[in-house]
Structure formats: C-alpha cells, structure tokens
Symmetry: C2
Subunit: 421 residues, 2 copies
C-alpha cells in the first residue's frame, strides 16, 4: 500500500482544473497512440519475464553462476540498480549483481578483480547499441576474461538492445542471446522492460510482483483513482518559475539509487526547450534522510524559496531494532528515544522535518509505503513515470527525447578521431 | 598541482573589483579574529596528528585492530568519508574504515554483523556531544558488543567532541580517550581538525601531506596568489538570482563522497537569512561524470538557465588501463577510442561536455588535479572552504551557524517525549 499526501501552499482554481483535465486527455492519447510504451509494461513485459526465466533454466552456465554483471550506463543501469539496492537486503541465496557503468579505470579494475569468469553472467545493455562507455567496458571484459565466441563463452553473455541495433546484429552474428527493448520505450523509462526484467529476474528477484504493482498503479490512474498525480503535476508546473527545484528526501539508505533514478527521469525528461522555444524544466535533487538533514535542511529552511520537497518514508522496515534503554552518564538528554525502534526514530525525523518545512510555508508532499514490498516499489516506479509524463505535457515539452546531449557526443568523437584531445 | 580555469559569461567591472577587495579584507579579519578557526588547521592540527599517532602506538588494542568504525553524521563523518573514499584505492595493508551514520535499522544491522569486536576501534564523533543519531547508534554498539567500561573495552573507544560537552564529560568519567574540536570550527569545516585527523591517521593515511596541501592553499590565498577564488565567489554571488544553482561535476567515482561533502558545506553555510532579513543562498548539486551526463546533462543544456557548472577532473589516475584494440563486428563505429586509456576517455568526456555547455553560453569553471596526491586533496578541501567563506561574506550571511535546523530538532523531541509521534 502507498499513501499520498499533498501539502501545497495554493489551492486548485478553475484554470488548474482545466490543466488537469487537458493533461489527462493528452496522456490518455499518449498511451493509446503508443507515444511511449511504458504505460503498459507491467503487463507487456510478462512474456519477456517468462522468456528470461525459461532461458535461464535451460542454460547450464546460468544455472551454476552466482553473479550477474550489468554493463550499462544511465537508463540502462540506474533502474535495475535501484531495484537491486532495495531488495538485496531481503533476499537470500540468489545471485549477486554488480554494475560496470562509468569508464573510471580505478573502479573498473577493482571490480574486474573481484569477478570470477566461470561464475558470472555478463548482461550488456545499450538501447542504441552504440553507447561508447558500455561498449568500451565490454571490450575490456572480453580481453580481461579472454572471451572468444565459442559456445561456452556465448552462454555467459546476454545483450539487451533495440531490434536491429549494431549490438543486436553483433549478437545475432555470434549466436548470443539478445532481448529487445520496445522501440517506443526510452532508456530512462525502460526499467520495467527487458532492461530491468531480464537481469533482475535471473538474479532471483520477484519481478512479477513489481510488474503487478506497476500495472495496478497505471490502471488506477487511468481509471481516475489517483488524481493526486494530476494535482501534483499541475502544482509543480504552474509554479515552475517560483519553485523550479524539487527535492526528494527518501528516509532509507536503500533508496539512494532510487533517488538517482528519479533524478535522471525528471531531469532528462523535463529539461527541454518547450514548444514555444523557451528553456524550461524542473530541477531534481535527491537526498537521504535523516543523514542529509545535516546537509541540506538549513538551505531549504532559510535559503531561497525556490524549492518544493517530496518525502518518501516506509512505515515498517521489518527489523524492529530497538534503541537500547541505556542511559549514558552526562548524556541523559539523549534518552528520550530509548526503547523506540530505529524505524520509529527515522520516521519521526521525517515527520518532524516535514512539519518544520510546512511551518515555513514551503510546499511539500509525502509518499508513505507500508513496507518494502515488491508491489509497492513497482507502484512507486509507475507513479514517478506517470508524474513525469504529466509534467512534460503541462510544460509543453517532448518528455521522451534528449536532443541536448548530442553536441557533447559529437565533440567527443571529434576529439578522438581528429586527435583534438 | 591544481589548475583553475574560470569561463564566466561576464567580465569583472568596477563594482566587482570592489566586492573582491572588500571580501578579501573581511576574510582576513575572520581569520585574524578567529571567527572561524579552519583557516589555519593545516598547521594547528599538527600537534593533534602527533598526539593521535603517539596514542595509537601506545595502545595495544589499536595496534592489533584492523577496522575503524566512525559513528557520526553530517559534518562529523562526511569529510572523513570523502578522504577515505579517495585514498582507500591507493593504500595497502592498513585499517579498513566503516561509517555508521544514518539511524536506518537495515543498514545498521548489516554493518554491525560484519564487525568483529576484538579487531575494531570505535570513534564516536559529535561536536555538540548530544546529537541524537550517533548517540542512539553508540548505545546499540554498546549493547550489541556487550561493551562495559572495563579497561579493555575503554581502549577500543575514542570520542571526538567539544571540550566540556556531555560526550566529553562521559569520556572523562569513564577514562575514555577524547580529542577536542576547536570551539570555533563548525562541523562542516572540521575535516582537518581532530574530526578527520584522528581516525584517518590511525587508519594509516598520510594526513600530514593533506594538512600541508591545505596550509599551502590557505597561505597562497592570503598572499593574494589565488585570486581566481575571489573572482569565482564574486561571479556566483552577483548572479545568485539568475543562476542560483551550482552543479559540481566530478569525473571520478571515488570523488562521490567529496561531492556530498561539498553539498553540505555549500548548502548549510550559504542557505541563510541575510543581514537584511532576506532568504538567500546558492543551491549545490553534486554529480559524477561521465555517468551523470546520462542523467543531468540534458537539463543543463536545454532546461532553465539557472545553473553554473564546475568540473573537477584528474589528469592521471595512475592505472593506464587501455581500451582494448578490439573491433566488434557491426559495432565498428565505437572503435574511435580504441587504444586510448579509460583515463583519456573519461577526461575527454569531461572536456567535450564542458565545451558543449560553454557553447550554450552557460558559465563554467574547471579544477584540474594532476593526480590524486594527498597534497592536492588537502588543497581542494581548503579551496572549497575559502570559497564558501567568500560567498558567505558577499551574500551578507553568517557562514558558520545553522539556525534553521533547530525547529525540526525541537519538534522531534516533542514527538517522542510527549508521545506525539
């Protein structure tokens, strides 16, 4: 169960109601016309899930492997990593996941040194099939582990990429198993496609429940049962000039990679030149409570009034670790939390911080998960994807492209090919 | 060696020159009057360093320990963690460091399960000596490892706190070794005080070189040999309404905790009500290149023009790991980086991204370290502390306090003591 609470500092007026109605019709059209395919991935990915599990069961190498290395960057790794970072704390006896993302030679060398070739499945993920970072890292993996394309070696590689991409053609040529990404699902919206489903299900996670949670959220939204989403999008976009920054404060360490996924989804989807030629967008900032209260809260409370704040908290961590009823001599003032669980302390901090921010007249909203259940995480992912689409519609931008990153890629290529480094 | 480069989209005028001159005089006064004590920590902490090393050598327990657990949050852990995160990749055979920061019971339980009591030194850090998170975690450590205050157990605890704080009195009472934090050095400016010096030097890091690097930067600045600092502070604060966000893009995974340290330093120091009663500040955002180019670059390029961008890159990672000269069938388009090092690729990405952002008319600056030498990191820390002080002076705020976080603490206490949770 997810609970949503909007504490915005302005009420809906007629204009807002009209924005909400328009956006609902447009997102319905996006779904109907397949402008993006993510809306129905909760259902559409079920055959991919079956395919992945059948393939894994029939593959002797995978059966005896204990590690999955995902080679990918940005949308090809962030969502998968976010889910792994949450559920690896709850799973026993399945495969470990490792992510090779940045072409940072220290990080790469250290991780390679921990990998045992005979126990590792390599999953290469690139939507375009031509991303320079994962392909360069894949080459290093090929050389480091002396991978030739014999049948044995082919068994330990999977690629996930667009149909007919260079990486797909390469896979076909060598008889390497490849899973397609739907052409209308962009990298940052792809976690519930083969991109996340294949490696996470082979790793042993309950992906079916995640997909179910996502489906349920999507269906409830389109049945107009999650209208708080429309309200939040309308509030954020109407006030984009006054409060252009949205801070996501998640109160659990294991949600750190989820906040990074949110930063990409939000930043890359909404930071655009709109249909009238204006630079627009909302700037996402991800933080972890209570740690980052000691870092960012002062700025929210007394700095420029350019932020809205979203809180995520989890009612039940399922550990029930209590703060011992110990009184330290001279430090008795800290005894007021004795006997409560750490879970109660961290959630108490979330509530206290929220209250202090609301008292300042800052707009906040809160998402409460009753537990780290797979269905809740699936629903949370779909919630954020829908919210992003709605904000994109209201900002009058193309939510699903990223034209601004092409210049840098061109300059990079020139630097190397023309030796302009 | 550090190299600094400012690519700002406006030139200094007379008013700016005056701002710079004024700020220089005021920061000189802050140093002279001891408004903050961090300016000279590079030198002032040398006796603490000696004390820590002598203590460690005389302590049989520490001599045979292999792990240091730092219990602290915010300014009590971030800087120490930032330094550990960089240098643990270069050090062999010394002690491992672990940080207990957030009262997250999953994270806490998992870390406790990996700790061997007989091999672990616990360092409890709290400036006020009454911070609720580390004290609650310390109680859990006491219970979990059945620590009583016998001589054996006392040997494996060190506290770092203000003189006469509750934690200091507790330490004195039980004969636990305690190191003081200078009263005029706040948490987020304290990494070069006992807070960082004691655990990091006992862990085996070359803290002397870090202190030397910091000292040299401070001395060069006050000798007017690092005037780019004044220029940067003047540019950022003059344009605070147009570009209130500073994005720090560090091109190395091991700098991620450094970017978190920067976020705290910047956010908590500058996000204030200024002397005229206005909310002011600059919002810090930390990112890692090239990974986060796939997340945040689109927003910088095409989103609202409210950001400046700072790049940090390191010329020589000292690994020289080359991208293999392998051509993958159908993916030959990715061969243009073959034979170059990953170091050259990541730095090429930094340069290409910087160029593409400058082409958009966005103000950037760049800091280049020739290597991850301790002196460079010490200088970088001092550079950011000085920059923060200069911005604070120019924004007319008190850089060194944090009044905005008190309300939340009061509400938290009420929730628990009055059972208002």
């Amino acid at each position: 169960m997810l609970h949503f609470e909007n504490d915005f500092q302005s009420k809906n007026d007629e204009q807002t109601e009209k924005m909400m109605q328009d956006a609902y019709e447009k997102i319905l059209l996006e779904k109907k016309e397949g402008v993006s395919g993510y809306f129905t991935l909760g259902r559409d990915s079920l055959p991919i899930l079956d395919d992945a599990l059948v393939y894994a069961q029939s593959n002797a190498f995978i059966q005896q492997s204990d590690t999955i290395v995902v080679i990918g960057i940005g949308g090809s790794s962030l969502g998968t990593k976010a889910i792994d970072s949450i559920f690896r704390h709850y799973r026993k006896g399945s495969k470990k996941m490792l992510f090779l993302e940045n072409p940072d030679e220290i990080d790469l060398s250290e991780k390679l040194a921990t990998i045992k070739k005979e126990k590792t499945l390599f999953v290469v993920v690139s939507k375009s099939g031509s991303t320079i970072e994962p392909l360069s890292i894949f080459k290093e993996v090929i050389q480091y582990f002396a991978i030739d394309y014999t049948e044995d070696d082919r068994q330990q590689i999977i690629t996930i990429t667009d149909k007919n991409s260079p990486l797909h053609k390469f896979s076909d040529y060598y008889g390497i198993k490849s899973f397609p990404i739907p052409s209308n699902v962009g990298g940052r919206f792809s976690v519930l496609s083969a991109v996340g489903v294949v490696p996470l299900s082979i790793a042993g996670y309950d992906i079916k429940s995640i997909l179910e949670g996502a489906s349920a959220m999507s269906e409830r939204f389109f049945a107009k049962k999650e209208n708080h989403l429309l309200q939040k999008a309308a509030f954020l976009t109407r006030h984009k000039d006054k409060t252009p920054i949205n801070v996501l404060f998640s109160y659990a360490n294991c949600l750190e990679d989820f906040t990074k996924w949110y930063v990409q989804l939000w930043g890359e989807s909404l930071g655009k030149i709109d249909k009238n030629g204006n630079h627009t967008g909302l700037t996402p900032v991800g933080h972890i409570g209570s740690t980052d209260q000691h870092s960012f809260l002062q700025l929210i409370m007394q700095g420029p009034r350019d932020k809205t704040v979203t809180f995520i908290k989890v009612t039940n961590f399922k550990k029930d670790l209590k703060i011992p009823d110990i009184s330290l001599k001279f430090i008795e003032a800290a005894d007021y939390v004795n006997g409560y669980t750490f879970n109660e302390l961290i959630n108490g901090e979330c509530e206290a911080t929220k209250e202090s921010i609301i008292n300042e007249g800052i707009s906040v909203d809160a998402i409460t998960l009753d537990s780290f259940h797979e269905k809740n995480i699936g629903a949370l992912i779909m919630y954020y994807e829908l919210l992003t689409s709605l904000c994109g519609i209201m900002l009058n931008v193309n939510t699903y492209d990223q034209p601004g990153v092409e210049t840098g890629k061109r300059i990079l290529k020139n630097r190397f090919t023309k030796n302009e480094r």
